[in-house]
C-alpha cells in the first residue's frame, strides 16, 4: 500500500509543486488570497473561487484525459457544453421537472459522445477532424435551440446546481469532486484504465489481443460528452441562463492544456485523472490570479502564456534530465529517443 501511495505522490509531484508555486506567487501579488471565511453557511474566499470557477474545465479535462489516453482528442466539448446548457434551459422553462431536465440533458451529452465516437471508431476519421465537425455545427445547434438569445430560467433546483452549497462547499466543486472520484475509481478499480491505455498505445495489438477496441473508443468519447453535459449544466446554472453563443467558447483548449499540464501525453497511453484535475486547477489558478493581480487586461494573455511555458518547461523530460545531469554529474542519462508514431 505504502509504495503505491508513494508512486502516486511521485506522479503528482510536478503538478503539486507548480500549483504551490502559483499560489505563493499570487499571494505575494495579492495578500488577501489565502483568506477563507464562512459566509451564508458557505466557505468563501479566492481559493474556493478557483475550485468553484474551475469546475467546467476540471470536468472537461476528466473526459478529455480519457479521450487523449486513447490517442484521440475532443475539440467539440465546448460546443457540447453549449448544446447541453441550452437543452437544460429550454426544458426547464417549458415546464419539465428538474429530474427530467437533468436526465434528458445528460442523455444529449451522451448522444454527442456517441456521434464523435462513431466517427472516430467506426468511420475511422482522424479525431481532430471528426470532433471539429461537432465543434462547428454544435454551437449552431445550441443557438438553434435558444434562437441566439440567453434563455434565462428561475428554477431553484437548477440554480442550486450552479450557486448552491453542500456541506459548506459550492455545488460545482462538490459535483466535480464526486464525479472525478467516480471516474477515477471506475477506470482504476476495473480494467478499463489499462485497456484504454493499451488502445492508445497500440490499437492494432490491442484488437488482436481481443480488446473490444471500437466499443471502448466510443465509450471514451461518451464519457467526454457526459462530462461536457455536466459542465454545460453547471455553466448555465451559474448564470441562470443558457448562453449558447459563449458557453464553453474555446474551453476545449483549456481542457487540453489542463491534461497536458497534468502530464498525460498527447500521443496517448498512460494517463492520470487526478493529475489532469490538478492541471485544470492550475489553469484556473492562473486565470484567477491574473484577475486578482489588477494588471490591465491587454496583458492577460502574455502572463498566461509565460506561466504556462514556464510550467511546461519545468515538466519537460529533457529539462528534468538536464537538471539531474547538473546536480548528479555523470548520472545515467535517459534515452533520448523520441518514439516514432
Amino acid at each position: 500500500m505504502i509504495p503505491i501511495m508513494r508512486t502516486y505522490a511521485g506522479r503528482l509531484l510536478p503538478q503539486l509543486i507548480a500549483l504551490a508555486a502559483i499560489v505563493v506567487a499570487i499571494s505575494i501579488v495579492f495578500p488577501g488570497f489565502l483568506n477563507l471565511q464562512i459566509q451564508n453557511g458557505r466557505l468563501y474566499g479566492s481559493m474556493v473561487d478557483i475550485l468553484n470557477r474551475g469546475a467546467p474545465v476540471v470536468l472537461l479535462a476528466i473526459g478529455m484525459t480519457v479521450v487523449i489516453a486513447t490517442k484521440g482528442i475532443d475539440l467539440s466539448v465546448g460546443a457540447v457544453m453549449a448544446i447541453c446548457g441550452a437543452v437544460a434551459a429550454s426544458l426547464i422553462t417549458s415546464g419539465h421537472s428538474l429530474a427530467e431536465t437533468l436526465l434528458a440533458t445528460l442523455a444529449v451529452g451522451i448522444v454527442c459522445g456517441i456521434w464523435n465516437g462513431v466517427l472516430v471508431a467506426v468511420l475511422d476519421i482522424q479525431p481532430i477532424i471528426a470532433t471539429l465537425v461537432l465543434m462547428v455545427a454544435g454551437r449552431g445547434i445550441a443557438q438553434l435551440i435558444t434562437e441566439g438569445t440567453i434563455l434565462t430560467f428561475n428554477d431553484p433546483g437548477l440554480i442550486f446546481i450552479g450557486s448552491g452549497s453542500f456541506a459548506g462547499l459550492p455545488m460545482p466543486l462538490v459535483i466535480w469532486l464526486v464525479f472525478g472520484l467516480l471516474v477515477a475509481l471506475l477506470v482504476r478499480r476495473t480494467a478499463l484504465g489499462m485497456l484504454i491505455e493499451a488502445i492508445g498505445i497500440n490499437r492494432q495489438a490491442s484488437t488482436l489481443s481481443g480488446v473490444l477496441t471500437p466499443v471502448l473508443l466510443v465509450a471514451a468519447y461518451v464519457l467526454s460528452g457526459l462530462c461536457a453535459a455536466i459542465a454545460g449544466i453547471i455553466a448555465a446554472a451559474d448564470i441562470r441562463g443558457a448562453d449558447a453563443n459563449n458557453a464553453g467558447l474555446w474551453l476545449e483548449l483549456d481542457a487540453i492544456l489542463a491534461v497536458v499540464v497534468g502530464g498525460t501525453s498527447l500521443l496517448g497511453g498512460r494517463f492520470s485523472i487526478a493529475a489532469s484535475v490538478l492541471g485544470a486547477v492550475i489553469i484556473q489558478a492562473i486565470n484567477t490570479g491574473i484577475l486578482l493581480s489588477g494588471f490591465p487586461p491587454e496583458f492577460n494573455l502574455i502572463i498566461k502564456a509565460a506561466i504556462i511555458i514556464f510550467i511546461l518547461v519545468l515538466q519537460s523530460p529533457r529539462f528534468r534530465t538536464g537538471v539531474s545531469f547538473l546536480s548528479i554529474p555523470k548520472a545515467a542519462s535517459k534515452p533520448t529517443e523520441r518514439e516514432a508514431k
Binding site: R189, T190, A191, L192, M194, L195, E197, A198, I201, N202, Q204, A205, S206, T207, L208, S209, G210, V211, L212, L216, G269, R270, K330, A332, S333, K334, P335, T336, E337, E339
Partner: protein, 505 residues
C-alpha cells in the same frame, strides 16, 4: 596482438547505462580492415546498443572510439554516415511513406540547380537495386513492398553509404535462403575492397558461413573475441549463454497424430488475400506452415484468427460450426495468435511486461472483472520465470526489452489465456539460440499437453523438428500437405520450389 593500424574501427571501454540496466559495461571491440566480424550474444546482451553507441544513435556514457586511427565521435547517425559508417539497424528502419528511391538516397539526393533531380535519383536507385537482382518500381512508396524487399532496400542503402564500415544488425531475420546468399556475395565483395563489416545474427550457420572473427557479449559485458575457424559451435554457444546447451534442435520429428480433427476449416478463404483452403487440426497436433516470403502464410493465420474476416467457407470445432469473424470471436473459441510483426501488432510498448502478459486474459474476462493485482503479479512472475524473460522487473515498459524477450512476453500473453489452438507466426524470428531451443521445447510440451498449434516459420529444419504435419503455401494458395515419412526438409523445399501444377500430397 594487432597493432592499431590494422583496425579500421576500435572501440575501447564503451559504457552505456539505461535506468535500471547497465546495457554495456566497458566493452572493447576491434574491427579489422577486410574482415567480417560477427557480433553475437543472447537477446538483450547489448549488441544493438553497442551498434547504436558506435553510430551516434545513442550518446555513450564512457569509452573511446578510433576510426581509421583517428579519434571519432559521431554525434548522430548523420555524422556516422559522413564518416563512412553504413548501418542497417535491427527492425527495418526505413520510412514506409517515402518512395524506394527516396529511402535509398535520403539526405544525399542528386541535385540539379539546387533542386532534387528525381529522374537521376530514380535511375540510380534502379541501378543500385539491380545489383541485388531486385527489379521493382522505385517510385512507389516503400510500404507497398513486403518486409523482405524492404530489408534488401535497407541493406542496399547501408552498403552504398559505407565507405569504411558496414554494420548489419540482424539483416537476415526476414530473408529467405536465396536472398541471404545474395547478401553474402555482396558482403564478400565489400570485404575484398577492404571494408570492415560487423554482422549480427542468431543463425549460427550464417556466422560460420561468412565471418572471420566472432565477438560474444553477455549481459552487457565482453566475453571474448575469437577466430571463427578456431571456435566450434558448442563452445560458441557456451560463450553466449554461459552454460552448455543440452540439445539444440531435435533431428527427429514427431509422429502424426491419429483421431478425429478437432478443428475443421472448409473452403476457408478471402478474396485478394488467400485462396480458399481446407485445413484440419487435431488435438495435440502441430501443423507447420512453410512457404516463401509473401506466399500467404501470414494471411492464412490472420484469417483463421479473425484478424481479417473470411469471405468464404466454414469453420467447425468438434463438429459444431463456429464464428471466427473477429479476434474476439476467435479468442472466445480459445484461439491464441502471436503475430509476426512484433512491434506494430504484438507489443503494447508503454505498458509494463506484467500488463502485456495479462492483456489478452483481461480482455477476455471483460473490463468489469479486473484481474486482482496479486494474481497479475503471480501470472507475470510465473511466465517471466517459465519462459526466462530477461527483464529488470515485471513493471519495466516492454518496449525497453530486447526483441527476443518481447517475443517471449507475447507468447506468455497467450499462454496465460490457456488457449486450445495457438497460432504462432514466426515465433523464433530474431531469437537467440538459447531461447530458440526453449521455444521449440515449449511448443513440444504444449503439444504433449494436448494443445493444437499452427506454427509458421521460415526455418524448415525447425518446422520438421516439431511439426506433425506441414502445409506448404505458394502464391497465396495451399499447395501441398506433408506428413509421416514425407515430412523431410528436402520434400518441403521441393514443394515450395515446384513451379507449376499443384502437387499431390
Amino acid at each position: 596482438m594487432q597493432t592499431s593500424s590494422d583496425n579500421i574501427l576500435s572501440a575501447t571501454r564503451i559504457e552505456k547505462g539505461f535506468p535500471g540496466t547497465k546495457a554495456l559495461d566497458r566493452v572493447d571491440f576491434h574491427l579489422r580492415r577486410g574482415e567480417v566480424h560477427a557480433l553475437l550474444g543472447e537477446n538483450g546482451a547489448g549488441k544493438s546498443t553497442l551498434i547504436k553507441c558506435l553510430t551516434g544513435a545513442y550518446r555513450r556514457d564512457g569509452g573511446s572510439m578510433l576510426l581509421d586511427g583517428a579519434e571519432a565521435d559521431p554525434r548522430d547517425t548523420f555524422d556516422a554516415q559522413r564518416l563512412g559508417i553504413g548501418t542497417v539497424y535491427q527492425e527495418v528502419n526505413l520510412l514506409p511513406n517515402l518512395t524506394v528511391a527516396e529511402n535509398l538516397f535520403l539526405g544525399r539526393q542528386p541535385r540539379r540547380f539546387g533542386m532534387v533531380d528525381t529522374r537521376t535519383m530514380n535511375r540510380k536507385a534502379r541501378e543500385l537495386l539491380a545489383e541485388y537482382e531486385l527489379d521493382i518500381d522505385v517510385t512507389r512508396d516503400l510500404a507497398s513492398y513486403s518486409v523482405a524487399i524492404q530489408q534488401v532496400v535497407a541493406i542496399a542503402r547501408a552498403v552504398d553509404l559505407s565507405g569504411k564500415v558496414l554494420i548489419l544488425d540482424e539483416p537476415t531475420a526476414s530473408l529467405d535462403a536465396h536472398e541471404v546468399e545474395m547478401l553474402f556475395r555482396i558482403v564478400r565483395r565489400l570485404k575484398e575492397r577492404g571494408l570492415g563489416i560487423i554482422f549480427i545474427t542468431h543463425f549460427l550457420e550464417q556466422v560460420y558461413a561468412i565471418s572471420d572473427r566472432i565477438t560474444v557479449l553477455r549481459n552487457g559485458q565482453l566475453v571474448g573475441t575469437r577466430n571463427a575457424a578456431d571456435l566450434d559451435r558448442r563452445e560458441l554457444i557456451a560463450m553466449m549463454i554461459g552454460r552448455e546447451l543440452a540439445t539444440e534442435i531435435h533431428s527427429a520429428h514427431s509422429d502424426a497424430v491419429a483421431g478425429e480433427p478437432r478443428y475443421r476449416f472448409r473452403n476457408f478463404g478471402r478474396r485478394g488475400k488467400i485462396d480458399p483452403f481446407d485445413l484440419d487440426v487435431r488435438a495435440g497436433e502441430v501443423v507447420g506452415m512453410a512457404g516463401l516470403l509473401g506466399s500467404g502464410r501470414t494471411e492464412t493465420a490472420e484469417i483463421l484468427f479473425g484478424a481479417h474476416r473470411a469471405d468464404s467457407g466454414t469453420a467447425e470445432i468438434d463438429g459444431r460450426s463456429v464464428d471466427l469473424s473477429s479476434p474476439r470471436a476467435a479468442i472466445r473459441q480459445k484461439f491464441g495468435f502471436c503475430p509476426e510483426d512484433r512491434k506494430t501488432a504484438g507489443i503494447v510498448g508503454d505498458l509494463s511486461v506484467r500488463e502485456n502478459i495479462v492483456l489478452a486474459l483481461q480482455a477476455r474476462r471483460g473490463w468489469t472483472r479486473p484481474i486482482p493485482r496479486a494474481e497479475q503479479n503471480r501470472l507475470a512472475d510465473h511466465y517471466i520465470r517459465a519462459l526466462d524473460i530477461r527483464t529488470a522487473d515485471r513493471e519495466k515498459p516492454i518496449r525497453l526489452l530486447s526483441g527476443g524477450n518481447q517475443q517471449k512476453a507475447i507468447l506468455a500473453r497467450w499462454l496465460a489465456t490457456e488457449p486450445e489452438l495457438l497460432i504462432l507466426d514466426e515465433p523464433t524470428r530474431g531469437i537467440d539460440v538459447g531461447a530458440h531451443a526453449e521455444i521449440i521445447r515449449l511448443i513440444e510440451s504444449l503439444r504433449e499437453k494436448g494443445m493444437s498449434l499452427i506454427v509458421i516459420s521460415s526455418e524448415i529444419e525447425e518446422l520438421v523438428a516439431y511439426s506433425t504435419r506441414v502445409v506448404v503455401l505458394r502464391d497465396h494458395a495451399h499447395v501441398a500437405e506433408l506428413d509421416g515419412a514425407q515430412l523431410t526438409a528436402h520434400r518441403i523445399v521441393e514443394a515450395i520450389a515446384a513451379t507449376n501444377g499443384r502437387e499431390a500430397p
